[in-house]
Subunit: 213 residues, 2 copies
Amino acid sequence: MSKVRVAAFSVSLDGFGAAPRQDLQNPLGVRGTELHQWFFETELFKKMQGQSGGSRGVDNDLAAQSFENVGAWILGRNMFGPVRGSWNDESWKGWWGTNPPYHTPVFVLTHYARAPLAMEGETTFYFVTDGIASALKKAKEAAQGKEVRIGGGVSVIRQYLAAGLIDEMHLAFAPVLLGGGEHLFAGMNFHGLGFAPYKTVMGGNAMHVFIRK
Amino acid sequence: MSKVRVAAFSVSLDGFGAAPRQDLQNPLGVRGTELHQWFFETELFKKMQGQSGGSRGVDNDLAAQSFENVGAWILGRNMFGPVRGSWNDESWKGWWGTNPPYHTPVFVLTHYARAPLAMEGETTFYFVTDGIASALKKAKEAAQGKEVRIGGGVSVIRQYLAAGLIDEMHLAFAPVLLGGGEHLFAGMNFHGLGFAPYKTVMGGNAMHVFIRK
């Protein structure tokens, strides 16, 4: 059975997993880049951008691990793009250009149907309109024994958490105070859901905590 | 002018600065010891307990720094003890035995008057019934140019934050999910109050973040 995990998911000191006011100019929300700075500075991220340099060490290693053994992804539609409502001309193809960093089937949760979208590098976006359980079933089939990674955003993760469908999470606590955005923990008792930290690794720019049931 | 700071204040991943259900058997609340484990394992804490051993390194160094240059403390009454309401026979003298770890004047916020309580090691508890501004004024006078440390708990810190009276905080983020207790951040926008991290130090068992305006 495929394990379902959240990985390398950035959280601010005050508990926000996404910054407020996402739009085309701010794919991560206003000040969202600060939240992900630990990742942006890594060699892995630079490489994904076609650049050289970047940091090695814990942050880089754990970012790399987050992509290993992943057979399928699940994303919320806000993580896929800034378009709201129907897809209109279907010209939006994600934030990531022609060759997205997934390289697997990616199931995008949405209320609006759209034909599958095959990209370079073996990423295909499938748009799922019949709910989180259906998306997970499809993702597990597609993963062929590998893991399913719930990419986010916060709302999607919280829906899967509330349904008891997540096995493990790797949270990267970033030394940032956002003061607003989407809160990962509010009104949700992770301890009560049975999660406990089992490994903590201090990185150069984030504290990485691995939790599971 | 005395700087006013919070130091070595433990916060859980989910934002709680105190565990729930404090009582005589659980001075730190149920599971509160997990929150402070990073401190309990240090050489400094062991020494304060009359023991040898304990860890050196970042956690120990920053715990030690939190006690340096402190001229007066302010505590909430729940941090002073489990007694609620009036002081009755005044037999309660704090959680810390005959020689508390403060070694300065300590101003305890309470609604119930009580005579000052001189302990061994130059700690004297003064009970302040006329509010946080009065307690801070008294503490600054007593500190004689040294810093005033707001010890906690969460409620007291939040009252001073809301009043704009705290200059600096050293928060120790512990890899613990409490799921309940007193939340440090809920309904309070630290970024909006003007605070930003200016230094982050990774310890063996906590991520130490220093914030100031």
